[in-house]
């Protein structure tokens, strides 16, 4: 019985690996394919293209700014909901999902019309993408942080800290955030992946982020686009590994669970 279960589980794992591995291997092989056999031309052309570095730089800048803005906004929101407005939790959850119901083009046209009247200068900077990316990452950041807050008894920890004389800055920095770090890292990871993969908004606003650059390369040089796509996937995976590592290191001060007696 156990052997049969092991075989079933093994088959499932193999299918999953194949499902993910085949496209990536295909990308890798294709990126090294040339008219006269294997070549590194596609990779070389990316590395030599100055547009790649500016697109990468812009995407990373946007990712960092979006992550900071998103974490500040969503941490404050989640804490407020859990401490002061639990009855609004469903509403806030609904709001975070709203973006999926609004087509990107609608969002851009509406926002552009508004900004042209109020602050036309804002449209001249790629940083205009940050608030849109923050909205796009709402659903992911909110859920990651909400799960983190639910895992700890927030209200009691806050009460305990207050009864010991702590004010809000101390409670936030020494009690809440240290216990939310894994959730914060998870939320940051999700936000970065959203930004690095977002194409529609940046192309509509006419800014060349990494996905836009990738699409442009793809129209002229398919192998180059494949190489870039692979790079992006590897970068995201690297980030995931880094988040897990940092998360484990931050929590590493705690000794492993031991058997205890009263």
């Amino acid at each position: 019985m156990r052997t049969r279960r092991h075989i079933g589980l093994g088959t499932f794992v193999i299918i999953v690996i194949v499902f993910f591995a085949i496209p990536l291997i295909s990308l890798l092989v294709f990126s090294f394919t040339g008219a006269d056999g294997p070549t590194i031309d596609a990779w070389a052309s990316i590395v030599e293209n100055p547009g790649f570095y500016s697109a990468l730089g812009l995407s990373l800048t946007l990712a960092v700014l979006t992550t900071i803005a998103s974490l500040i906004l969503m941490t404050a929101t989640v804490l407020w909901v859990h401490l002061r407005a639990m009855h609004l939790r469903a509403l806030v959850e609904g709001i975070t999902l709203l973006v999926f119901a609004i087509p990107a083009i609608t969002l851009v046209i509406g926002a552009t019309g508004l900004l042209l009247g109020l602050a036309p200068w804002a449209l001249g900077s790629p940083l205009i993408l940050v608030p849109f990316y923050v909205v796009l990452s709402f659903a992911f950041t909110y859920r990651a942080l909400d799960a983190g807050v639910r895992a700890m008894d927030l209200q009691t920890l806050v009460d305990a800290a207050q009864s010991l004389g702590a004010g809000w800055p101390t409670i936030l920095l020494r009690v809440i955030l240290p216990n939310l770090r894994t959730a914060l890292l998870g939320a940051a990871f999700l936000t970065i992946t959203v930004v690095l993969g977002e194409y529609v908004l940046s192309s509509l606003f006419l800014y060349e982020t990494l996905p836009v650059f990738m699409a442009e390369i793809g129209t002229a040089e398919a192998q180059g686009a494949a190489a870039l796509a692979l790079l992006t996937v590897l970068f995201t995976w690297g980030l995931l590994v880094l988040v897990s590592f940092v998360s484990r290191r931050l929590g590493g001060g705690r000794p492993q669970m031991t058997v205890v007696t009263t």
Binding site: D159, A160, P255, T262
Partner: protein, 368 residues
């Protein structure tokens, strides 16, 4: 010296009235328990004292000064919660030192005070353990040490033993009482466990449906319950059905054919149907072949040996109490004459009996 006074404290949550104007005062170094069933308002009262809830009316006075506007972190009160509430990212010693760090103590002061507190609660050697590496009892000891480390004016304990197993609960409650007496710190202890409250309190405030039923020493609460609720909630009670009889100066209750003088019946109208509540240890039996007019005729059902005492169960002949079981506790040995089927007369100590109307008793039972 620290005194705490609650004056007409009211609190509502929507339509639910949690406290109906609670008046209560505790003296310096006193251990007061708030005792009552779930939803009686005891935790709300404690949270109002701590500053976590604001009263809708009334005031809380600490050493005579109104502290309504003081936030929880300025009230100088240490609190221990039901579910430990240790900071998971800190070791035991770091948890204990947290309040001291907030107060800006030097590292050496913090180390010394925290070490003393950890030792006081019997956790020397566990300083470096994280909460997840400690048992519930150990975590609650750390929480106690943490609350005491800041030398609070008042110690607030919100059902701190509820999450612990029975053995740990008993030992920790004794430790809490010893430490509280050593430090002579004014303490409010919230519990729904009457045994806990009776065992460690100087005084007990029994609450029901947001109202103070009785505030007194454990002995007063047990021996002289002021209301049917207290009689029914604290300890066990026998209930006799009767009718008010006698004169205004010498009130009595007629139970079946027997009239028993009960001072508690004073002020009630003659003929009013009432219930008389008595404790098993204040209820007595006498073997008799026939009624003598001085006791309520009954038949022994069975005996239960309970160690230091023997509990005897009887059925009254009285038609108003069909099937009512009367409990009588007798100490010492040699109770063979109270064997099953033996005819007895039941009496009780009129000084400790409580008289209530059927409606009062019913509402007290519902409140539980």
């Amino acid at each position: 010296m620290t005194t705490v006074e609650l004056r007409s404290v009211r609190k509502t949550f929507g339509d639910f009235v949690a406290l109906h104007g609670l008046d209560l005062n505790m003296t310096d170094g006193e251990f007061v328990s708030f005792l009552g069933p779930s939803g009686c308002g005891k935790t709300t009262a404690l949270r109002i004292v701590a500053g976590f809830e604001l009263p809708d009316g009334g005031s809380v006075l600490l050493d005579g000064a109104d502290i309504e506007n003081a936030p929880p972190n300025k009230r100088d009160m240490g609190m221990v919660f039901q579910d430990y509430s240790l900071f998971p990212n800190m070791t035991a010693i770091e948890n204990v030192a947290f309040g001291l760090r907030v107060r800006g103590q030097s590292a050496s002061q913090m180390k010394e005070t925290s070490g003393k507190m950890i030792e006081m609660v019997g956790l020397k050697g566990k300083e470096g353990n994280y909460p997840h590496q400690m048992s519930g009892g150990q975590q609650q000891r750390v929480a106690l040490a943490r609350a005491l480390a800041i030398q609070p004016k008042v110690l607030l304990l919100d059902e701190p033993l509820s999450a612990l197993d029975a053995k740990v609960r008993v030992s920790l409650r004794n430790e809490i009482r010893v430490i509280q007496q050593e430090l002579a710190i004014s303490t409010i202890f919230v519990t729904h466990d009457q045994e806990e409250a009776l065992t460690i309190s100087d005084r007990i405030a029994v609450l029901s449906q947001g109202q103070l039923e009785q505030f007194g020493t454990p002995e007063e609460i047990y021996r002289h319950p002021a209301t049917p609720f207290v009689a029914a909630f604290v300890g066990e009670s026998n209930i006799f059905h009767g009718t008010i009889a006698g004169t205004h100066d010498a009130p009595s209750v007629r139970i079946g054919s027997v009239e028993i003088p009960v001072q508690q019946a004073a002020g009630r109208s003659s003929g009013e149907r009432v219930r008389v509540l008595t404790r098993p240890e204040s209820t007595y039996l006498r073997v008799t072949s026939e009624g003598d007019g001085k006791g309520i005729p009954a038949t022994v059902v069975s005996q239960q040996f309970q160690g230091a005492r023997t509990r005897i169960l009887t059925h009254l002949d009285h038609v108003e109490d069909p099937g009512a079981v009367i409990l009588t506790d007798v100490t010492g040995g040699g109770h063979d004459h109270f064997a099953g089927g033996v005819r007895v007369n039941v009496t009780f100590d009129p000084a400790t009996a409580l008289v209530a109307s059927a409606e009062e008793l019913e509402s007290a039972t519902v409140a539980q």
